[in-house]
């Protein structure tokens, strides 16, 4: 579904991605784990068109997308929930959801999806007339995911959904992520610092080190790997 082939990204002189090749197949949850600055978020930003690869190709559903505008990439069904949630604090929950459906014009289906978003995250229904900025961190993350879903993505890219949230909320959010994948067939590319949780949720995983993919395997195999356990899972 999504294939990155030998993708290089430079920030000025900094070589952030040094030939990354990864693949996400339809129906999968794929996670990228790795230390800070390894290039995980850069990968998502490059796929969604916010950054341009200096070389390499990105193919989505058989189509080259590495030179496309971000809005065209969203229109193809590839939606990015950026790190730090990035909801619109001055807009209400309802308006945030409407912005997520910005590229769509099928009003009845949009309203239906709004209902579905409230079903997934009932707390958002209670808060629907509140401004995004007044929500708690966990609620904001839920809103960010719900807003992305409003674009009806086929592939959702989540950047650090657990960042700064209480463990119980993180649990809830990851359950929802798994549910979206199982029940709705949503393909998910997940970038996560919390490697243990990410590997428990995902089917497959890639391990990044300073801009390169160093390991690639089934999530369970990675979780069992000695090196991964030592470096990212905090256990020996």
């Amino acid at each position: 579904m999504l294939v990155l082939d030998d993708v290089h990204v430079h920030y000025g002189k900094i070589h952030a991605l040094k030939g990354v090749s990864i693949e996400v197949r339809e129906g999968e949850i794929v996670t990228i784990i790795g230390a800070n600055g390894a290039g995980k978020s850069t990968t998502l930003q490059t796929v969604s068109g916010l950054l341009r690869p200096s070389s390499g190709t990105i193919t989505y559903a058989g189509q080259r997308i590495d030179a496309m505008a971000p809005s065209d990439i969203v229109a193809l069904g590839l939606c990015h929930t950026p790190e730090g949630r990035r909801i619109f604090p001055e807009l209400t929950v309802d308006e945030n959801l409407s912005m997520g459906a910005y590229l769509r014009r099928d009003r009845a289906a949009i309203e239906a999806d709004r209902g579905r978003a409230f079903e997934l995250f009932p707390i958002l229904a209670e808060r629907r007339t509140q401004h995004g900025g007044t929500l708690s961190g966990g609620e904001q993350q839920m809103l960010a995911i719900a807003r992305s879903l409003m674009s009806r993505p086929k592939l959702l890219m989540l950047d650090e959904p657990s960042l700064g949230l209480a463990p119980i909320i993180v649990q809830q959010i990851f359950q929802t992520i798994a549910r979206l994948n199982q029940d709705e067939g949503l393909t998910i590319l997940l970038v996560e610092q919390n490697a243990a949780l990410a590997l428990r949720t995902a089917h497959r995983g890639y391990v990044y080190e300073t801009g390169r993919v160093t390991m690639e395997d089934a999530a369970s195999a990675l979780a069992a790997d000695e090196q991964v356990r030592a470096a990212y899972l905090g256990s020996i």
Binding site: A108, E111, D113, E119, R128, K154, E184
Partner: protein, 387 residues
């Protein structure tokens, strides 16, 4: 538009229509009204970029100046015995008939001024598209200054634009070239001019109001609130910024054209950075992003400016001190009402409880990604009907 807004709008329009019947078309009051009207158009145009899109523009005077100059130049095109010339020469007189002297030509000329400024807006905006907001302010300030200096540049050996801009003296429109509309001369003291300005003020209101309510307006608001989030939602940020620059420039150009008609002369010397600041102050005072706020803010500021020209029992405020008073006013307003006098009303159409119940109960898998969008839409409609 809420009902209160509609009522206030209608009352204000009615007042503006009957105003000259009470005050006449000649004299200080109607003249101030025209002046306010022209600056209102400018402020409404600036509000599109500053208020709707959230980018600070410190060089809006460039549109006022370019619109005014384009209008003056087109009006002064003259058919002479030896061909076509401009009747703006400081050093030589041009004798002949205005080329665009037919009735109503001014509407085309104003359109041309608007389009020229829309182009300037886009050209000026392009270099800032790849960088974040603050650079836009610097570029606008810089380009306005470059244009200002260029217009006044009279070095005879190098580029000399004073032939076009009149340099420090400005361009004076010959009275033989004052345009006609509906058979009347568009002089500042003629009813037809007053109502032309009024019609264009109303047009600027309607244009920016509809823009704000449109899909494009929603995209602009998203850009203002969070550019990255807007991109993630699929908003084409560059395209919508360029639309904002073009609309803002277009409206400013029309305002500039009216300025030419109103004053009869265009002297670049007076169109400096303080004009940009003045218009920006009006928008900020009234409430950025609010159309009625912008209108009230700039009108208040212009009227205050006129009052400050008066003699208060032998004490008068020197012109240079006027901006001190504006600044003080701005500080006071920002201290006690940082959102401006009439900030935008936050519209949020909440989903009603009934709708919410219909949306959240019982139907299976509306958000089924494997189903085509049409099928889900049909399912949604069914579910709503079914409850």
């Amino acid at each position: 538009m809420s009902r209160t807004d509609a009522v206030f709008g209608a009352l204000a329009l009615l007042a503006a229509i009957v105003f000259p019947w009470l005050a006449g078309f000649r004299g200080t009051l109607p003249n101030v009204a025209l002046y306010v009207g022209i600056y209102m158009i400018l402020a409404l145009g600036l509000n599109v970029v500053v208020g709707f899109t959230g980018l600070l523009d410190l060089g809006y005077v460039a549109f006022l100046a370019l619109g005014a100059i384009v209008t003056a130049l087109l009006l002064s095109l003259t058919r002479t015995e030896s061909g076509i010339d401009w009747a703006i020469g400081v050093s030589h007189d041009v004798v002949g008939e205005p080329l665009l002297g037919f009735d109503g030509a001014i509407l085309i000329i104003l359109l041309a001024a608007g389009l020229a400024c829309a182009l300037l807006g886009v050209l000026r905006g392009i270099p800032t598209l790849r960088v974040r907001g603050d650079y836009y302010a610097i570029v606008t300030l810089g380009i306005a200054e470059i244009l200002y200096e260029t217009a006044l540049w009279d070095d005879t050996n190098l580029l000399n634009f004073t032939r076009v801009t009149g340099g420090a003296f400005g361009i004076k429109l010959p009275s033989s070239h004052v345009p006609h509309l509906f058979g009347q001369k568009l002089y500042y003291d003629q009813p037809v001019f007053y109502y032309l300005v009024l019609a264009l003020v109303v047009s600027a209101f309607l244009l920016t109001h509809h823009l704000n309510r449109s899909r494009v307006g929603r995209a602009m608001a998203a850009i203002r609130l969070d550019e990255t989030a807007a991109r993630a939602c699929g908003v084409d940020v560059s395209r919508h910024k360029l639309i904002a620059f073009a609309v803002s420039g277009f409206v400013g150009g029309i305002g500039g054209g009216l300025y030419t008609l109103w004053s009869g002369t265009v002297a670049v010397k007076g169109l400096d950075v303080w004009q940009s600041i003045l218009i920006l102050c009006g928008v900020v005072l009234g409430g950025m992003g609010s159309i009625r706020g912008t209108a009230v803010g700039i009108a208040g500021l212009m009227c205050l400016g006129e009052l400050l020209r008066e003699d208060f029992g032998g004490v008068s405020v020197p012109p240079e001190a006027r901006f001190l008073i504006y600044g003080l006013l701005l500080i006071i307003v920002m201290r006690f009402r940082p959102q401006g006098l009439l900030p935008p009303v936050r519209r949020s159409r909440a989903v009603t409880d009934a709708e919410h119940a219909a949306l959240t109960t019982g139907h299976a898998r509306l958000y089924d990604l494997r189903a085509p969008a049409g099928a889900a839409a049909a399912a949604g409609a069914d579910a709503v009907e079914g409850t």
